[in-house]
């Protein structure tokens, strides 16, 4: 297996080299200049957030463009962690997001199996229905969801939000998982069946362990979706004690008075783990996206 991959890699790098040989040194220089410029544009705004978060409290507003201020301090970080509700917001987000990701994953994993292995009546309408729900943006349903949540007394609780998130990510998860299950050969299940395993135990003992990568992708997707959402949280949560972090950060960057120090420090504290997770998993995330799209 790894030998094959290595050979493939060698072939790819050979192809690249062959292409690159055609580029003159001047052209290569230009390409590097262009890419460096693009990288600066991509990274500079993020670095600015870091630099503001390091400024001491009395110099938050300044026209200086220095990335690391002369008198850098961790004041803002101290303030956001010990004097604001930031940890509480993170905790709220974590509770809602973890519940969401687990419920969503369990519901999607079982339904995707049904879609992948049985040709039951209603299968194609069901798949088409899942596809159309993805076309309905959450923003279109905020009015009825808000009115229903008020009537069912789900405002200002974890429950309403966690339920809304876990269901809204189900269609996408089912599509990805179904695509992945389809690639697992049926012979495996048939062999297990001959050995006397029931349909459900083959699912738990063969299909689920084999699909760990896809399950991880789906879990991560659900997690990220709920973790970064602002609009649903905005209408469902009104008490500051139950805010999720996007709402919290939004109040820090308030409409007329911005608390620059705490806002930027909080942004960095939230963004760094998310970015590391994203960059680390982006390869799988993208392959999962395209695999789902190509398989249909």
């Amino acid at each position: 297996m790894s030998g094959k991959i290595k050979a493939e890699r060698r072939k790819i790098s050979y192809l690249f080299r062959r292409k690159a040989r055609g580029d003159s040194p001047f052209k290569r220089f230009l390409i590097h200049v262009a890419l460096i410029l693009a990288c600066i544009i991509a990274v500079y705004p993020v670095l600015r957030v870091v630099s503001v978060s390091l400024r001491p409290g009395d110099r938050l507003l300044s026209t200086s463009l220095a990335l690391i201020p002369d008198d850098a301090s961790m004041q803002s970080y101290y303030k956001i962690i010990f004097e604001k509700d930031f940890l509480l917001w993170l905790w709220n987000s974590l509770c809602i997001t973890m519940t969401t990701a687990f419920i969503g994953l369990i519901l999607a994993a079982t339904s995707a199996y049904a879609f992948s292995r049985w040709k039951f009546p209603g299968r194609i309408p069901g798949l088409l229905f899942l596809l159309t729900t993805q076309m309905i943006p959450a923003a279109m349903l905020i009015v009825p969801i808000y009115v229903l949540a008020v009537q069912l007394n789900l405002i200002n609780s974890y429950r309403g939000l966690a339920l809304a998130y876990s269901v809204s990510s189900i269609p996408f998860s089912i599509w990805i998982l179904k695509g992945y299950y389809d690639t697992i050969p049926r012979e495996l299940e048939e062999a297990a069946k001959i050995d006397g395993a029931s349909q459900m135990s083959t699912f738990y003992k063969i299909i689920l362990p084999l699909s760990t990568p896809a399950l991880a992708i789906v879990f991560l997707f659900n997690f990220m979706m709920a973790w970064n959402d602002w609009i649903l949280a905005r209408i469902m949560l009104q008490r500051e004690k139950i805010f999720t972090w996007p709402l919290g950060i939004w109040t820090l960057a308030g409409q007329f008075r911005v608390e620059w120090g705490t806002f930027t420090a909080a942004s960095i504290l939230v963004a760094v783990p998310v970015m590391i997770l994203f960059l680390y998993s982006s390869k799988w995330l993208i392959s999962g996206l395209t695999a789902g799209a190509v398989k249909g």
Binding site: D85, L88, I136, V143, V167, P246, I249, M275, T290
Partner: protein, 339 residues
């Protein structure tokens, strides 16, 4: 640390615990019912798949289909903050809601058709820049060179950072005095720009932010597509004496189509429905920077006209639906679904 006390933690854990417990109890009871009805009474051979599907189906029915139906019902009411419990539901009211959308301002002054054309303008501008920017960067990156991995990682930054953080940070950078764009403009001797007050520049600011956010996704998708084009094609073209532009036009673009088409359709829907960027960048709530989705949010939650907003949402959904249908018609889109 003050607010995250042990009491808060146990409180939230018990709330979540009881919720999960109720969900599982509900699922088990429901599964038993499905099993008895389908398996024992109808003796269906599809009992197992229906049992597997049942929880998700109920969830979707409760949280997608029911709200959808409820939205249609709301569209025929005059529900607002004032008439929240004692609203009246009638056909006349519904017709009134739908005519109001097209005849009266949706918010204070903004009418529907300017709003629609601005949304289309917003979508087109963003998409052109996303695709062309992503294409250029992907082509530059698609070669063997030093630092390729570093470039790729750095260029993905705008996609990796949580959107709310990025958008709020950009809003700060459009500050008249302290934002880096105006500071830089002043240093090279130009006039600073009123990003937050001037309608044109505020819309431009939202576009800049969204273009910055959206390019990495297109770049990565296109890069994946480029890598799947065999190098032999370019070799053959070179032997035949094709110029770079000819190679791009007759090899790269056609070979990218299967990847570009779904990416563009996804991008269109995302941009059309983008809420965070136009809503957040628009600090002073200029109606001249609103697009359909943000106008819908304001009509519902700042003007509290729930019945009217429900009708408004249905109109937007109808537009999206027409767009998707046309797309499926044109591309023969969803055949893959059936296999």
């Amino acid at each position: 640390m003050s607010s995250l006390t042990a009491r808060v933690i146990t409180g939230s854990l018990s709330q979540i615990g009881s919720m999960i417990l109720y969900i599982f109890l509900g699922i088990i009871i429901f599964e038993v019912v499905v099993y008895l009805v389908l398996g024992k009474i109808f003796k269906s051979k599809y009992t197992i798949p229906y049992m597997l599907l049942a929880p998700a189906a109920v969830g979707l029915a409760l949280l997608v289909i029911y709200p959808m139906a409820y939205e249609v019902r709301l569209a025929f009411t005059n529900m607002s903050l004032r008439y929240f419990r004692n609203y009246n539901l009638s056909l006349v009211q519904g017709l009134k809601n739908f005519t109001l959308i097209f005849t009266e301002p949706v918010l204070k002054q903004l009418k529907f058709f300017p709003l629609l054309s601005r949304t289309i303008l917003w979508t087109v501008i963003n998409l052109i820049f996303h695709v062309s920017g992503g294409l250029v960067l992907a082509i530059l990156l698609n070669r063997h060179m030093r630092g390729r991995g570093i470039y790729r990682t750095l260029l993905v930054f705008p996609w990796a950072i949580p959107q709310i953080v990025a958008v709020l940070a950009w809003r700060g950078e459009f500050h008249f005095e302290y934002g880096f764009i105006n500071v830089m403009l002043q240093r090279i001797g130009l006039q600073p720009i009123q990003w937050m007050i001037d309608p044109f520049w505020n819309f431009t600011a939202a576009c800049i932010t969204n273009i910055w956010l959206g390019i990495p996704f297109m770049m990565i998708i296109i890069l994946g597509g480029l890598q799947s084009i065999p190098a032999e094609f370019y070799d053959a073209a070179e032997i035949d004496g094709a110029s770079n532009w000819q190679q791009f036009n007759s090899i790269t673009l056609p070979m990218l189509r299967p990847i570009l088409t779904p990416a563009v359709i996804l991008g269109t829907i995302w941009t059309f429905n983008n809420f965070n960027v136009p809503y957040m960048i628009n600090r002073y709530e200029l109606e001249t920077s609103d697009i359909l989705v943000t106008a819908l949010f304001r009509a519902a939650f700042e003007y509290n006209r729930y019945g009217f907003s429900a009708a408004f949402a249905l109109v937007i959904l109808f537009i999206l639906f027409i767009f998707t249908l046309t797309y499926i018609r044109v591309t023969g889109g969803i055949k893959g679904v059936y296999e």
